[in-house]
């Protein structure tokens, strides 16, 4: 089966040989596809909040607000990234059960997951998670609520900037609002396999 490599490459060379000239890579600026109305917006975080609302994502600036939302919905059992927990723990009352190790044999026990984002994209209201920051992929995916913690200076203006900073983490994921489908008659339903509530929490 390894011969297939040579078969494919030689067929390819044969197919391309008659071309007198190969199409060149076109010239274009990195920001060619930046959305026009967002270009001049000054404060990326406030743009992010506005844009993420358009895709039914949420944003908060105080841990207390997150805690209040969880309490109001009786979402009292969750996962929190071990590095974040010392900072967040004081805001959570004794009614909460928060684990800092995610046990995949009990995924449905966790109603919320709190992890660290590496950044966000203002233009599209997108959160950026990488293995380096959100090492527990399931903790950010399986619970109904995902809360991604980030800092103000980590919010980038647009997708072109975010692409330039992808780096070499083996896995990076951009998350734009809650998980959704429109497979059944085009009707939008949120929370298909991933979170039904996607929240960005600004800290510091």
């Amino acid at each position: 089966m390894n011969d297939d490599r040579e078969v494919i490459l030689s067929r390819m060379r044969g197919a391309l040989a008659p071309l007198r000239k190969r199409a060149a890579y076109p010239n274009f600026p990195d920001d060619v596809a930046v959305m026009r109305e967002v270009v001049d917006w000054k404060d990326p975080w406030s743009v992010f909040c506005e844009r993420t609302r358009l895709v039914n994502g949420e944003s908060m600036e105080r841990v207390e607000d997150v805690v209040a939302l969880l309490k109001a919905n009786h979402w009292l059992h969750g996962y929190c990234d071990p590095q974040l927990w010392p900072r967040l723990a004081p805001a959570f009352g004794p009614e909460f059960t928060v684990e800092t190790a995610f046990d995949r044999t009990r995924v449905d026990d966790y109603q919320f997951g709190i992890t660290r984002a590496v950044g966000a994209i203002a233009e599209t209201g997108t959160l950026i998670l990488s293995d380096a920051s959100t090492s527990c992929r399931l903790g950010a995916l399986a619970p109904w609520v995902h809360i991604a913690v980030l800092r103000r200076e980590e919010v980038m203006a647009n997708m072109a900037q975010a692409v330039a900073l992808l780096g070499d983490d083996p896995n990076i994921i951009w998350v734009t609002g809650p998980s959704k489908t429109a497979d059944v008659e085009g009707i939008l339903i949120e929370g298909v396999h991933g979170p039904g509530r996607q929240i960005a929490l600004l800290l510091g």
Binding site: M1, D4, V7, I8, L9, R11, M12, R13, G14, A15, L16, A23, P26, F28, D30, D31, A33, M35, R36, V55, F102, R104, V107, E123, T124, T126, D131, S135, C136, R137, L138, L141, M159, A160, A162, V163, L166, P170, N171, I172, I173, W174, V175, T176, G177, P178, S179, K180, T181, A182, D183, V184, E185, G186, I189, G191, V192, H193, G194, P195
Partner: protein
């Protein structure tokens, strides 16, 4: 009268399905157009630019593919090559068997449909579960996707609720929210129990060896969070030269496919998880699949290899909207399928040769294509290829009598005069079957044969007279 296969399918499509397809495609198309025009000063320029990038890719695949192979290997992935469908299936099976894997969860990949992977794996005792909601419903119904982005665009909620009930997924309930929750519950047990996860790739960047996978539901993320082994099936044309191209292509893909500014989950994968990471595959395999693509590259329709599988051409196509996807009898329906399916059919080209003819050549598919593929031109080239290969032309009158008419001036003149009879004969009585089909839904205009010749003759005469006066 005998009609083309695609027309026969169209005739048997229940009106209810036609309506589902029409409503779904029209809504997405309109939203897409509004979004592109609202967000960008010159969306057409972006489409052309993306087309130039992809044309560069397909004309330089012989250098870009070895480059991406090297980058992927450096990132810790194992690269495999499959010249045809059988080789691709064998690779997947070998990887799974070596790991003793018996349960595979699958995100959407059109290549897996192309190589008919699921039935093959199941015959070898491997459970192969589609995790995209639409694909899952197709799977439990033993149906086929009718759209590459919205596989069940032809189904309504009542049909779905019925098959959920039949498959033990709860009592009949056709609320879309209930259907979705049941799938969520069922699927997460499967992800966690699975031995391997499969995805396709929307893009693979040659410069960095980055696989990019987009989904809205989060099913591909789950398939790469729980299982220990990742297998990616990738068509060899899926490359982009550089990371920077992604900003352009992701913007175009989401808007063109689902009228979103960005798909919910956009995952960038460079290799298996790092040591010490709790989640993610420890082993990653990328299978580059040819399966007819190098033949397309060698032919005169190679521009079709630019396609990024967004489905915008289906949503806008007046033919697709009427006939739905199954009429194309292929993995790839719609305008892109009318070009790609006959080409990928290889020796069975003639069986699909009716597809390029099922088009009014209105050009809408080209206008919406995010990589600016000249689909109408390609359809014409394929019609020509079909004719030369001796494709059947049911529904068309034989051209012999026409040739006689058009090459003998005397016969032609007689026919022009004789044609007046048509004004008095009901079309149903004319002994040409094609005429019956044509006249079943149309009325013939009044015969005007000879009018143009008369006008031309007089014009020539006037010109000569004026010329003489001037002289």
């Amino acid at each position: 009268m005998k009609t083309q296969p695609i027309d026969q399918f169209a005739c048997t499509l229940p009106p209810e399905k036609r309506q589902s397809v029409y409503n779904g495609t029209k809504a997405t198309h309109e939203k897409r157009t509004k979004l592109l025009a609202g967000d960008f000063a010159d969306p057409d320029r972006l489409r052309q630019l993306a087309g130039e990038v992809k044309q560069h890719v397909i004309e330089n695949l012989d250098t870009l593919l070895p480059q991406v192979e090297e980058r992927l290997t450096a990132g810790g992935a194992q690269v495999h090559w499959a010249a045809d469908a059988a080789a691709a299936r064998r690779h997947v099976l070998a990887i799974l068997q070596r790991r003793g894997a018996t349960r595979l969860v699958k995100a959407k990949t059109m290549v897996s449909e192309e190589i008919e992977l699921a039935p093959f794996l199941e015959a070898h005792g491997i459970e192969c579960l589609e995790t995209d909601l639409g694909e899952f419903i197709v799977q439990i119904d033993h149906d086929h996707p009718s759209h590459i982005v919205r596989p069940i665009i032809h189904k309504n909620r009542r049909e779905i609720a019925t098959s959920f009930e039949k498959n033990g997924l709860g009592a009949y309930n056709d609320a879309p929210e209930v259907i979705t929750r049941r799938a969520r519950e069922f699927m997460r047990k499967k992800y966690l129990a699975a031995d391997a996860g499969m995805t396709g790739a929307n893009f693979v960047v040659a410069e960095s060896g980055r696989l990019v996978v987009v989904t809205n539901e989060g099913n591909s993320r789950f398939s790469l969070a729980a299982p220990k082994c990742h297998i990616a099936l990738v068509g060899i044309e899926k490359l982009l030269p550089r990371d920077r191209d992604l900003a352009l292509f992701l913007n175009l893909l989401a808007r063109s496919a689902t009228a979103q500014q960005l798909t919910v989950y956009t995952e960038f994968i460079r290799g298996p998880r790092a040591a010490g990471q709790p989640d993610g595959p420890e082993e990653m395999h990328v299978i580059f699949v040819d399966n007819g693509r190098t033949d397309v590259l060698a032919g005169e329709c190679r521009e079709i290899l630019r396609c990024i599988r967004c489905g915008a051409c289906m949503n806008v196509c007046p033919v697709y909207r009427q006939v739905s996807g199954h009429a194309y009898r292929s993995v790839y329906p719609g305008p892109v399928g009318a070009v790609l399916s006959p080409l990928l059919a290889g020796e069975d080209f003639l069986e699909k040769a009716d597809l390029p003819k099922a088009s009014s050549l209105c050009g809408a598919c080209n206008e919406v294509c995010p990589v600016n593929i000249p689909i109408p031109d390609l359809l014409l080239r394929l019609r020509d290829k079909g004719k030369r290969a001796g494709a059947a032309s049911p529904g068309l009158p034989p051209m012999g009598p026409w040739a006689l008419l058009a090459s003998q001036p005397v016969v032609w003149k007689a026919a022009l005069i004789g044609g007046r009879l048509l004004d008095y004969i009901p079309p149903g009585l004319i002994p040409v079957p094609a005429m019956h089909a044509w006249a079943a839904s149309r009325t013939l205009p009044k015969w005007r044969g000879g009018v143009f010749r008369k006008w031309l003759r007089q014009r020539e005469k006037r010109k000569t007279e004026t010329g003489e006066r001037k002289a």
